[in-house]
Symmetry: C2
């Protein structure tokens, strides 16, 4: 049974295991530093579909199909799927997964969705509510731009604080295989609103939430950053990362040399025109599945924190003068099941 | 530990208890048959705020505050809150609840959100992940119309299959008080797409999902409808209810005299101009909190199924010619904790 430490932090004692994972990306991701680690890359941003929204659904379907195939799992062997995305009414997920006939729990955590869905899937397996659970999310640059900012045809200028929404999806299958990677802890974050009203500066809106959840995790568990090979945030980008590290130092947490941000890993800011870095649900999801999980599986990294961040804004509320609340959920991924330590 | 029956159906063995609940409604709800049962009714659809979106956030905040107050619970005593709504990016929930400083798990289940959030809250308490969890959702007629259909100022004609989005919110607090009502089972539904492309006929789009989840529940548990005082669906309205009852008869399930639909209870279709009935996340949520839970608490009803339905559509995808997938999640509410029967 999981141990409840308070502040949304739960230690998992039954060592839910990540049995399969897959990352799907688009053209920009295929030119980025992690290209070789993706399971599927598509030069055509429509993924053969007639709209960008349908392309996003296709990506999510492909990511789940590949993760299932890689772990020799049939859809009928999955008890529940946790999914969500940035599109209005989360249609990337609902339309992408409707044919699977798997019990479906829709989530909305903006760009934190990979961590939120992975928390839920792991907790369902931990409790025996599911023998096998899927966590999946996605984002698409073109569908996100026209929904949250301007249609691409408008050719709007993007400020340097802006981030580039990843065209990508990541899917993870959690089960009881007993093989690494294991999910050892989950932390459900609180909403934090630092008062940012600029929808082109999401990193600043999300950094305080990341600082809060990471601080909560360390303070509740008594662990220290030195116990981890890497600590990943979701998609703070260059602006948000700087704020995060400052805030954590104020809390006496020094992540120098350990912290990396998925938004700064997915693209090369020198050669790719992504301004402050990558963002979108698919950013942290694909970096998790392409780059992080293989290294925890192999043992190259023994312990990793994955803290995906989300900006819980809507264009409507920003137009009404509202600020942008942020959130951050976290999972502890480990090569060891932790049973020896108990 | 919960018993996993397959098909998304889980029997809860630790008898999570509903410790508090509250329903908030607007002007139309205040003229409806359930008016006297609401905790708060507001003649002013803005709830004192400057926009309908902010009004919806206010409703959700008020519903949670009242449910907490009614059960003598401080926000700090809540381990997690599960919330979602119909607004883009679920801002009814995120803006309404951001000040509470409670770990927040955002959901998207369209009008099924009350059942989805109540499933999650109950399962978290069942597993010991939370000592106390909140489930809440809302909808607002004016914000939903301008987002999903036409701005009110346009004065669009509504066909007779259309339903009236409730301006309402319901919040439930699940804990371990050991007092009724108890949550005895949860069923997470699958997505079902009957091919409906008319966004003004949600009842028809959702009815097959309701039939599927209700059939799954009875087939997995071996129970019969006669064991229940009432079986509620979320917001199928007149059109969807007729389809549901037909589909269930094909599955040899006769709910005559037991079935009621929250969309047909909230408003009086004879005197209120709501066409096929009420709808929206707030419809089933407020009927649950105003009308159903008090009767299960008192023992007037011993056993009730609450099956909230959602249409997982988006205006963008409907404009692209897509059909509307439906979903239905279910909870078994009981005056007895079920321990004797084990």
């Amino acid at each position: 049974m999981a141990k409840r430490l308070g502040g949304g932090v739960l230690l998992l004692q039954n060592a839910p295991s990540i049995e399969g994972f897959a990352a799907v990306g688009g053209r920009m991701e295929g030119k980025g530093p992690l290209a070789a680690e993706f399971d599927e890359l598509n030069e055509d941003t429509t993924f053969g579909e007639k709209s960008w929204e349908k392309a996003e659904s296709r990506m999510q379907k492909n990511a789940v199909s590949r993760a299932l195939a890689k772990s020799n799992t049939a859809p009928g062997e999955v008890d529940i799927i946790f999914a969500g995305d940035l599109l209005n009414q989360c249609t990337g997920s609902t339309y992408g997964l409707r044919e699977l006939e798997i019990p479906f729990a829709g989530l909305y955590g903006a760009c934190s969705t990979m961590a939120e869905s992975l928390c839920m899937a792991s907790l369902f397996v931990e409790a025996g509510f599911a023998n096998r659970a899927v966590a999946v999310t996605s984002s698409h640059f073109c569908s996100a731009e026209r929904q949250f900012r301007f249609p691409l045809e408008y050719g709007g200028q993007r400020p340097l604080t802006a981030q580039w929404t990843a065209t990508a999806s990541g899917a993870v299958i959690v089960g009881n295989s007993g093989k690494p990677p294991f999910v050892r802890a989950a932390a459900i974050g609180k909403i934090s609103d630092p008062g940012i009203t600029d929808a082109a500066n999401m990193g600043a809106a999300m950094a305080p939430a990341a600082a809060m959840t990471i601080t909560e995790y360390f303070s509740r568990t008594g662990k220290s950053p030195a116990e981890f090979d890497r600590i990943f945030t979701g998609d703070l980008g260059a602006v948000g990362t700087e704020i995060l590290l400052k805030l954590l130092k104020q809390n006496s947490l020094d992540l120098t040399g350990i912290h990396q941000d998925c938004g700064l890993l997915l693209f090369d800011r020198q050669t790719q025109d992504v301004h402050a870095g990558g963002s979108g649900c698919g950013c942290s999801a694909s970096v998790l599945c392409a780059h992080i999980l293989p290294r925890v599986r192999s043992g190259e990294w023994q312990n990793v924190l994955f803290a995906a961040t989300g900006a819980l804004m809507s264009p409507t509320l920003v137009q009404q003068g509202e600020s942008i609340p942020g959130i951050c959920h976290l999972v502890h991924l480990s090569h060891q099941n932790g049973k020896e330590a108990c």
